[in-house]
């Protein structure tokens, strides 16, 4: 949030739109919505200077429920959209919302490249380890033995490890949160938005409809036992050996964010059109 002006005039409720969410009752994403509004209020973000960009999926509905600017984009391309936006308007605070299917499967390569570029924005993935909107197919983070009618006995595939991939790819801030603790999640979002460069926050957000077993997550999560490190190798080792329910900021990097070079001359749209003419 290095370029955003901070103020304290907005209350959390001021960031909510008039549209009522249509998530299933009990869905973790309701909590995440609370966390967004509480974090924005803590930061004093001006709605007109804040943009939430998303892709497709249950979690990607979130821009509609917020009263700042939003862009509900195409599947897996939220980071591409957000990158273009931040590069052209570095003065804006850009937050990207996604889910484990949209972000790690359809948008998997964009995730890696966004970490590499280290542009100053915040990527929030609401991970419920299932494709909820399309009725319960396994996603890249689903456990190998998760039994469904589509994959009897489970997929047998090792789950994707998003936090480690983010670290290996160059993300400058890595954290894990739990939706059922909206204040703590809001605090993590505040830190993520403040941290320069690409911040990645994985929010464990239960899908109570297709993964009712995830209601138990509230009994499994626990605070990370050690403070965040700035050593990516140390952070990766910790994440690879934890139980997946460590909550908190796990890595604060010191990489310089991507610097956006100002255009040296005004671009003539007519000239651009000629370049694209067939």
């Amino acid at each position: 949030m290095s370029t955003a002006e901070t103020r304290t005039i907005c209350k959390p409720g001021d960031y909510k739109s008039d549209i009522k969410p249509i998530w299933c009752p009990g869905c973790g994403d309701y909590h995440v919505l609370l966390s967004f509004t509480r974090a924005f209020a803590q930061l004093g973000l001006r709605p007109e200077d804040t943009v939430v960009v998303s892709g497709i999926g249950c979690s990607s509905r979130i821009p509609a429920y917020l009263s700042c600017y939003g862009f509900h984009g195409v599947h897996g391309r939220s980071l591409a959209l957000a990158t273009g936006l931040k590069v052209s308007r570095p003065d804006l605070t850009v937050v990207v919302a996604s889910g484990d299917g949209d972000g790690y499967s359809i948008g998997g390569n964009h995730f890696i490249q966004a970490c590499r570029r280290n542009i100053d924005m915040t990527y929030v993935v609401m991970d419920n380890r299932v494709y909820g909107m399309t009725k319960g197919q396994p996603s890249p983070t689903t456990e190998p033995d998760f039994d469904t009618a589509l994959f009897p006995g489970g997929t047998g595939l090792s789950p994707f490890h998003p936090l480690v991939i983010a670290l290996a790819s160059g993300a400058n801030f890595v954290a894990r949160a739990f939706s059922g603790e909206p204040n703590e999640t809001a605090n993590i979002l505040v830190e993520a938005i403040r941290h320069p460069g690409f911040s990645f926050v994985e929010v464990l957000s239960p899908c109570v409809t297709f993964r009712p077993d995830e209601r138990e997550w509230k009994n499994l999560v626990h605070p990370a036992p050690v403070a965040a490190t700035s050593d990516p190798a140390k952070a990766a080792r910790r994440i690879m050996t934890d139980d997946g329910f460590n909550i908190g900021i796990l890595y604060r990097g010191e990489r310089r964010p991507y610097q956006i070079k100002a255009a040296t001359k005004a671009i003539d749209i007519g000239e651009l059109e000629k370049d694209f003419a067939l």
């Binding site: 969410p21 009752p25 009990g26 739990f178 409809t209």
Partner: protein, 177 residues
């Protein structure tokens, strides 16, 4: 994770009221979210119950606001935030416990759990506060919360516990075959 909310250091009656006010506002918001969910999912009975609970909490918030006079409750609560913000409000209503077929009994159970936690929170302050005025105000809040707990028990007489089949849906959300 945050089963036992930490008790912030409360130095004055205004601090205590700021915390109490924030607790009530959190409950207003959460019951409002649940009412909206039930409205969207066509459960009018639960919509009414959660709207009523949200309204009741907003009345409590207004009462606390009035008791505090000119004190800047939001500012004080923000200042205290750094101490207990990691924990959720003691009266926290668990949005994750919602179910589209839940009954008023379930709603009141959620409410009862929150009120009991709030009662324990203010009781602990009343018992440990050093300042006599803080102690006195905390005792008053304990009385209030105890009355809320009793009220929920009275309401529960109207709504007996449903049978175990309450969540059986003749047309359940279908996983893809």
């Amino acid at each position: 994770m945050s089963k036992a909310p930490s008790i912030p250091p409360i130095f004055s009656v205004a601090d205590l009221l700021a915390i109490a006010y924030r607790i009530e506002l959190d409950a207003v918001e959460r019951y409002g979210v649940l009412a909206d969910q039930m409205e969207t999912h066509n459960n009018p009975e639960l919509t009414r119950v959660f709207r009523d609970l949200s309204k009741a909490e907003s009345i409590h918030a207004a009462e606390i606001r009035e008791m505090a006079g000119d004190a800047d409750l939001n500012g004080r609560a923000s200042a205290l935030h750094s101490v207990w913000r990691k924990g959720e409000s003691p009266e926290e209503v668990d949005l994750g416990a919602a179910h589209y077929l839940m009954t008023p009994w379930h709603a009141l159970q959620l409410c009862l759990a929150g009120e009991k936690r709030a009662l324990a929170f203010f009781t602990s302050i009343a018992e440990t506060a050093k300042d006599a005025k803080v102690k006195e105000m905390a005792a008053e809040l304990v009385e209030e919360e105890a009355e809320h707990v009793n009220l929920v028990y009275r309401l529960l007489r109207k709504y007996p516990k449903p049978t175990d089949s309450w969540c059986q849906d003749g047309d359940p959300p279908a996983a893809q075959d």
